[in-house]
Each structure stands twice: as structure tokens, then as C-alpha cells.
């Protein structure tokens, strides 16, 4: 059986890839994908814990995370499309009418 620590290490690595992607990349879509990687890293650790603890709370939690992530994706893409119509770019640095 794969021990818990393996799941946690993979999940931590994925989470950091996501965080670095959000902080370093300037393409809106890639930043968005990095956020999804972070959420999936959380899902992985939840499922890992769930299996280790032999419970069901973690699975339920991860389903909730997926449902919310889906809602978030739809709203996020809608926002990106609506801003793209006014200003055809996906580079985050160009959204600077207001200073960050």
C-alpha cells in the first residue's frame, strides 16, 4: 500500500507549482489554470487523508471542492471573455487602469 506521506508530498508539490504559476505567469488563462492545479492538489490531499483515516468526510469535501471549482471556472471565464471584448489582450500586466 502506498503510504500517506507519498500522497501528501505529491499534493504539496502540485500546490507549489500552482502557487508559483499564479505568482510568476502573466497570461490570464495560465494563471487561471494554476489556480485549478492548487485546488486539485487540495483534492488529492483530501482523498489521501480520507483513505488513510478510513472515513468519508474527505471524499464529500473533495466533491464539494469540485462543484465549487466548476462554478468558479464558469464565472471566471465569463469575466475574462467580457473583459476581452473591451480590451483584446490576456496579459495581466496590461490591466492597469487602476494601479495594482
Amino acid at each position: 500500500m502506498v503510504p500517506l506521506s507519498h500522497y501528501l508530498i505529491v499534493s504539496a508539490i502540485l500546490f507549489f507549482i500552482g502557487v508559483l504559476g499564479v505568482l510568476l505567469r502573466r497570461n490570464v488563462i495560465v494563471v487561471f489554470m494554476s489556480i485549478e492545479i492548487m485546488l486539485n492538489a487540495v483534492n488529492l490531499s483530501l482523498i489521501g487523508f480520507d483513505r488513510f483515516l478510513n472515513q468519508h468526510d474527505g471524499q464529500v469535501f473533495s466533491f464539494m471542492v469540485m462543484a465549487v471549482a466548476a462554478a468558479e471556472v464558469s464565472v471566471g471565464l465569463a469575466i475574462i471573455i467580457s473583459i476581452f471584448r473591451k480590451k483584446p489582450t490576456i496579459n495581466l500586466d496590461e490591466f492597469n487602469i487602476m494601479k495594482w
Binding site: 499564479v22 487561471f32 487540495v42 474527505g58 469535501f61 464565472v75
Partner: protein
């Protein structure tokens, strides 16, 4: 056989009522034309009924849904604050929206759904439910911030809010998953029991979970150093929405924080108190220093709200019966102050130009002395001058923190309130001692004026006769 879980719909009455009205608004929107005035009254009725149904449970606290949802005096008080703030936001929108071309029925429905999320968040005692509440609130707010699709600023605000909000959710979730994994439960009471049973064992992962929790919640309530989104979002969002998100969602997140930090991971207080205190001090200081340099009034209020979050976080740190009641009292007075200021900002907005620069307030007292007086009172109350409500609220929070012996924290907070007078007084000086550099075209709409009057009455009443509300808030204390 799996036993069916007990379902107590009565304790969910406010949530159900408000959701029903949210859907009603959505459907009714299809049958009316371009004029959305009817939706305003349906929403207000819904909020009123929600406030009434909040009292449908007796013998509080009542736990339901396998101990994940609680109705106690704290959550009832919160429902009142949330319905009040959402009602004021809808009243402010009533005249603002047609003027700015926001003829969208979903606007009102989203405000109602956001309020549903806040109610869930303030009653949740389970990590899953806390997460769901936060996301319902956040997703509604992302859309509301960007509801002016023709306005690039509003779009940009929505994008920034969305990216940073989702980023913060990731941290919050990772913290939740660590806490779940190392305590074996998502229920706050269960977490508390598991932590106290652990004593002596290595809990560094739990501490990491707490830190991630502070980061995630810090983003959601716009506490420094996680505040960088808030000035932009405040500036870009429509004014009623800015007022709305300055109050309700923050109050809900703070109450959830209070529950998590005191019932959930309360046993680890040695490890989260210090980081939270650092965040509180950073919020107060950076908020006030940032506000000094602003020339746009909405950005100024954003920084001022960052510093107010700093004061409120102090109340989260204090662990006594005064703390939660002072938190509630502060949030109630903050509601009145913010909505009053934004009411005046909307009144002074012109066609096509919202007139948001502080320079635009020069000489207001000559032309419209009453408006200037009201604005001055809100500013002084935000700063915390007696006998206005802001003073009582601050005094109350500070004494709760002092009771715990955090003298340094209170000293920094008092110094910060003194600094904050600089920028609040700057606006008053502009209104009273400078000559007008432009024509005022105030737009005295009855509903907007009503908001300002309610807010004025609120800050005077809570400032001069705080007794009844304080005793209600003390009744709602968690301990």
C-alpha cells in the same frame, strides 16, 4: 442500514426564505420590462421576512444537520446585520442603477444569494460548510463587482477580485485539508476535542494549517499584507456594491474566523495568536498609511476599511465574552458609517462622472451645509470621535482586548486611530475651509437620502444610547 440524518428545516428558515426570494426575483425578472423597480421591492420584502424568520427557533443554541449548522444568538444577530446591510445596498442601488445603465435583474438576485452565503457562513460549524459559505459569497461578489460590463474599470475590478479570491480559496482549502487530515474530522467541536487529546504530540502540520487559514481568511477580509486587491476592486465596482462588500462579507468572514479560532483550533492558540496579531497590526498600520496618500475617495475608504479590519481582528484574538459582542457591535456601527458615506458619494455623483476625487468636495459646506454636516459626522465617526458610534465601538473592542492583557496591541491600535484622523479630517477641511472649484450637481433621490438618514440616526443612536444594542450583543456572545 444507514440512518437518515435529522433534517431540521426550521433552523434553516432564514436561508430558505431568502433563497426562495432570490429565485422569485430571477423568475419575475423575465416577465417585466426594462424597469426593474418591482424587483427592488420584492428583494426588500425578502430581506425583511428573512430577518423575521431568524427568530423562528427558541431554546438556542440549536445544532442541526449532524452538528454542522448552528443557530445561536450570535448567528441571529448576524442575520440582522446582514439583512440590514443588504437592504441598505439595495436602497442605494435603486436610483444609482438606472442612472448608470445597470438594468439587470440578476443584480438583485445576486445580492440576495450573497446574503444567503453570509448567513450560512455565520452559522457554519463545519469546515465543509464554511468553505461553501465563503464561496457562495465570493462568487456572487465576483459577478457583482463586474456587473457594469460596458465599463472597463468594473471589468478590471472583477478580474482582479476573481483571480486573487480564487487564489485565496486555494490557501484556505489547503489549510482545511491539513486540519482535517491531522484531526480526522471536519466538525469544529470534533477538531477541538482531537486537538486537546493530542497534547504533547507533534502538531507542526496543524500549525501550518492554521497559518494557511489565516492567509486564506486574510485575503477574504482584505487584511494586510493580503489587501492589495481591495483598493482596485473598491474603485472599480459600482458604488452600492462597494459599500455592500465593505460590510456584509467581511462581517461574515470575521464571524466564521471567530468560530474557527475559538471553537475549532482554540487549543492551538499559542501558535495562531502571534501571526494573527501581526496581521492585525499590519492591517491597521498599512491601511492608515495607505489612506493618507489617496486622492480618490473610494480608494481612501478601501484603505480605511483595511485598517478597520485590523481593529476587528484584534477582537478575534481576544478570547473573552466581551470579544464577540464587541465584534458584533463594531460591525453594526461600521455598517451605518459605510452606507452613510457611500450614500453621500452617490448623491454627489454627476451624470457621466462620478466625482470621486477628494478635491471635488471643496466648498461643499457653503452650498449644501446639511450634506457637508452629515459627511463630517460620518468621517468623525469612522475616526472614532465621541459621542458618535465609532467611538463606542472602538472603545468596546479595545477594552475587550485590554482585558486579555494585550497592552502593546491596544497601544498600537490607539496610535493608529489618531493617525486615521489625518485623512478623515482632510475631507472635512476640504468641505469647510476651501473654496469650491466646480459646480455641484447633487442628485437628491428619495431612497438614497433615506439611506443617509437611516445611517445618521444609526450612528447617533448607537453613539449616545448604546446600552440596548450592547446588551443584545452581549447576549449573543459565544462564551
Amino acid at each position: 442500514m444507514i440512518a437518515a440524518p435529522d433534517i431540521d428545516l426550521v433552523s434553516l428558515a432564514p436561508v430558505l426564505t431568502l433563497s426562495a426570494f432570490g429565485f422569485a426575483v430571477l423568475i419575475w425578472d423575465l416577465f417585466i420590462g426594462k424597469d426593474k423597480t418591482q424587483l427592488i421591492y420584492i428583494s426588500l420584502l425578502g430581506l425583511f421576512l428573512t430577518a423575521v424568520t431568524a427568530f423562528s427557533k427558541s431554546n438556542l443554541p440549536v445544532y442541526s444537520f449532524t452538528n454542522s449548522y448552528v443557530v445561536d444568538n450570535l448567528s441571529v444577530f448576524c442575520v440582522i446585520i446582514f439583512t440590514l446591510s443588504s437592504g441598505l445596498a439595495i436602497l442605494l442601488s435603486a436610483n444609482y442603477n438606472p442612472e448608470k445603465g445597470i438594468e439587470i435583474g440578476e443584480y438583485y438576485c445576486l445580492i440576495l444569494f450573497c446574503t444567503v452565503g453570509m448567513i450560512v457562513l455565520s452559522s457554519a460549524v463545519d469546515l465543509i460548510l464554511i468553505f461553501l459559505g465563503i464561496e457562495v459569497v465570493s462568487i456572487s461578489l465576483y459577478v457583482l463587482a463586474g456587473i457594469r460590463r460596458d465599463d472597463l474599470k468594473s471589468n478590471e475590478a472583477a478580474l482582479k477580485y476573481f483571480l486573487l479570491g480564487a487564489f485565496a480559496s486555494g490557501f484556505l482549502l489547503y489549510g482545511m485539508s491539513l486540519i482535517y487530515g491531522f484531526t480526522g474530522t471536519t466538525n469544529l467541536k470534533g477538531i477541538m476535542a482531537a486537538i486537546s487529546a493530542m497534547d504533547g504530540k507533534d502538531n507542526s502540520f496543524l500549525v501550518l494549517g492554521c497559518i494557511l487559514f489565516i492567509v486564506g481568511f486574510g485575503f477574504k477580509v482584505a487584511a494586510a499584507p493580503f489587501h492589495m486587491w481591495s483598493p482596485d476592486v473598491y474603485q472599480g465596482a459600482p458604488s452600492p456594491i462597494t459599500a455592500f462588500m465593505a460590510v456584509g462579507p467581511k462581517a461574515a468572514s470575521l464571524v466564521a474566523m471567530f468560530r474557527v479560532f475559538h471553537t475549532g483550533i482554540g487549543g492551538l492558540d499559542g501558535s495562531w495568536e502571534m501571526p494573527l496579531a501581526v496581521v492585525a497590526v499590519a492591517s491597521m498600520t498599512l491601511g492608515n498609511l495607505g489612506a493618507i496618500m489617496q486622492t480618490n475617495i473610494k480608494r481612501l475608504l478601501a484603505y480605511s476599511s483595511i485598517s478597520h479590519v485590523g481593529y476587528l481582528l484584534m477582537a478575534v484574538i481576544a478570547k473573552n465574552s466581551l470579544a464577540s459582542s464587541s465584534l458584533l457591535f463594531y460591525m453594526l456601527t461600521y455598517t451605518f458609517m459605510v452606507f452613510g458615506v457611500f450614500g453621500i458619494i452617490i448623491i454627489l455623483g454627476k451624470k457621466g462622472d462620478e466625482n470621486l476625487e477628494i478635491e471635488g468636495y471643496c466648498g461643499l459646506s457653503n452650498k449644501y451645509p446639511l450634506l457637508a454636516l452629515a459627511m463630517a459626522m460620518f468621517m468623525l465617526s469612522l475616526g472614532g470621535l465621541p459621542p458618535l458610534a465609532g467611538f463606542v465601538a472602538k472603545f468596546y473592542v479595545f477594552s475587550a482586548v485590554l482585558k486579555e492583557g494585550h497592552t502593546i496591541l491596544v497601544t498600537i491600535a490607539v496610535l493608529n486611530s489618531v493617525i486615521s484622523f489625518y485623512y478623515y479630517l482632510k475631507i472635512i477641511v476640504n468641505m469647510y475651509f476651501k473654496d469650491a472649484n466646480q459646480e455641484f450637481q447633487p442628485n437628491f433621490q428619495p431612497l438614497t437620502l433615506l439611506v443617509v438618514i437611516i445611517a445618521l440616526v444609526g450612528i447617533l443612536d448607537l453613539g449616545i444610547f448604546p446600552g440596548p444594542i450592547i446588551s443584545l450583543a452581549e447576549n449573543a456572545s459565544l462564551f
